[in-house]
């Protein structure tokens, strides 16, 4: 389990995150969701011991972050958001030799590396140099580097960035399998669809603070606005939360009937569909992103 207690990080007088108090259950996938600049990466870097907290503390598998950070490093693995693979490295070099560098023998590292490359569909590319791999393949290699160590806790910072949807689904399946196998996974994304597909629990961040923290199901069940109507013009007398989207308007409503009535008032020009995490986030954040 991971618990944070008022965790904060300040950079030259500006808080990246502040007052962060969240819980990550063991054997689950917890998603830090939010737009760029909302504090997701800073949070993960704090828990991965890359950053030292400016305030607060955390507990990672029973160890106190500010006291036991060296011991915590034995329990975690981490895929940084912007990490890149050297062009002369092959997938086998990357996955096998970083395992050796973590202390595994070469034989064991080879076997684990093969297993992970097969699971992530990169085994047949194992001897291809980095420059000859697609962006998606490189991302899978990096993911294998993070998942292959037998760590209890895995931090994945936007692991599917730049990967097409079908490959993302494959990766989501692997991440879900790892959580079911008992690993504690904290994952960041700004992709709300990924959040809905993967998360057991969601933490919505906005400008370095927690907007809401709840199990995904609870969060979606409790969101009163189940439908949205996208309109090209605003009808008069409508009482519903409105999020301006360029020259259109997104109206959040409680039922399909209400949505259809508004659409009718607007002359039938627009679309009605169900809401999800994205609309919940926009509703909570007032429709703005987290860019500072």
């Amino acid at each position: 389990m991971i618990r944070t207690y008022g965790l904060g990080k300040r950079f030259d007088g500006v808080w990246g995150v502040r007052g962060l108090s969240i819980t990550v259950e063991p054997g689950s996938v917890t998603m830090l969701l939010g737009p760029n600049g909302s504090g997701k990466t800073t949070t993960v870097r704090l828990l991965a011991t890359v950053y030292r907290p400016s305030e607060g503390d955390a507990e990672v598998m029973g160890l106190r972050l500010t006291r036991d950070y060296r011991r915590i490093r034995r329990l975690v693995s981490y895929l940084p958001q912007e990490v890149s693979l050297y062009n002369m490295w092959t997938p086998m070099d990357a996955v096998k030799w970083v395992l050796v560098a973590r202390g595994y023998s070469r034989g064991v590292a080879s076997s684990i590396a093969r297993d992970w490359m097969e699971r992530l569909g990169i085994w047949e590319y194992r001897d291809r140099k980095g420059w000859a791999l697609s962006g998606g393949m490189k991302r899978r290699v990096l993911l294998a580097m993070a998942l292959a160590p037998e760590s209890e806790v895995v931090f994945l910072d936007e692991p599917t960035t730049g990967i097409d949807l079908s490959a993302r689904v494959d990766i989501w399946r692997v991440i879900r399998e790892e959580a079911r196998g008992g690993r504690t996974i904290l994952l960041t994304t700004h992709d709300m669809m990924e959040g809905e597909a993967l998360a057991d629990k969601v933490v919505l961040l906005h400008r370095g603070r927690v907007l809401v923290e709840a199990p995904l199901k609870t969060l979606l069940d409790e969101f009163p606005y189940r439908y949205k109507v996208i309109l090209h013009s605003m009808p008069n007398g409508v009482d519903a939360p409105v999020i301006p989207v360029g020259d259109r308007y997104m109206l959040l409503v409680r039922s399909r009937e209400e949505a259809l009535e508004i659409l009718s008032q607007a002359g039938g020009v627009g679309e009605v569909s169900k809401t999800g995490l994205a609309e919940y986030y926009l509703y909570l954040s007032g429709g703005s992103d987290g860019e500072a």
């Binding site: 895929l79 890149s84 092959t90 560098a101």
Partner: protein, 240 residues
């Protein structure tokens, strides 16, 4: 075994540029052989013996300062450093791994030098020169690591390390007499670790060292100790 594996793992990772692109070796071999020909033409066998020593001392120092520094700097730029930090590996294992990788790479680059040393009848000098070379890889890498660790954005790190290592590899009395420099600069160059190591070997074999062996040993010890203190004091491994 775990820590030994870690060190070997990082050593191997830091050598991958040459394992996967061995054409770099050809570049190094051509450079070495070409300069042997130039030195032979202009200075005969005495110049060649001098060069046999200097190509290793200055070359190993450069390997640490330039390539070792770039390895560390590029691991920062690519964020692989963050991946390494969130693992059981200590900075010590990581640093020793890079130093070992750089030493092994230097040894491979030195193969033509050993052949020429054999031809010149000075192969017996090589164990001492290689030992000092390994020390110079450590000192060179440590110097770069201390500097790069203080640089917020190391994007231009290759330009920096290339320039510094080239300048420092050309100072006298490595390839030409120290009298070429004004007196104060001459004194400064004698404080450099690769100059001290070169002069130490020269003093041992009597090929024209201007500095006493004790002076050179003290310089080398001072650099080693000083860099260990600086690393301990200034280089962070995450937790920033």
């Amino acid at each position: 075994m775990g820590r030994l594996n870690s060190v070997l793992g990082y050593a191997y990772l830091s050598m991958l540029w040459i394992i996967r692109e061995p054409i770099w070796l050809l570049n190094g071999f051509v450079w070495i052989v070409g300069f042997f020909m130039i030195f032979h033409f202009w200075g005969g066998s005495e110049a060649l013996i001098n060069y046999t020593v200097v190509i290793i001392t200055a070359g190993y120092w450069s390997m640490g300062l330039n390539v070792g520094g770039q390895e560390y700097g590029w691991n920062k730029i690519t964020r692989l450093e963050e991946y390494y930090i969130a693992s059981p590996v200590s900075f010590g294992d990581y640093f020793i791994g890079i130093t070992m990788g750089m030493t092994a790479t230097s040894l491979i680059y030195s193969l033509p030098v050993f052949l020429i040393a054999h031809q010149l009848g000075v192969l017996h000098l090589m164990p001492l020169v290689i030992l000092l070379g390994a020390y110079l890889v450590f000192v060179g890498t440590a110097t770069s690591v201390v500097i790069i660790s203080r640089v917020k954005n190391p994007m231009n790190i290759s330009a920096l390390t290339n320039t510094v290592s080239t300048v420092l590899s050309l100072v006298p009395p490595l390839y030409y007499p120290a009298t070429a420099l004004p007196k104060p600069l001459d004194a400064l160059s004698s404080l450099l670790p690769h100059v001290a190591a070169t002069e130490y070997v020269r003093s041992i074999v009597g090929i024209g060292s201007a500095l006493p062996p004790l002076h050179n040993l003290l310089i080398m010890a001072g650099w080693g100790l000083g860099l260990l203190i600086l690393i301990h004091r200034y280089v962070t491994w995450g937790w920033e």
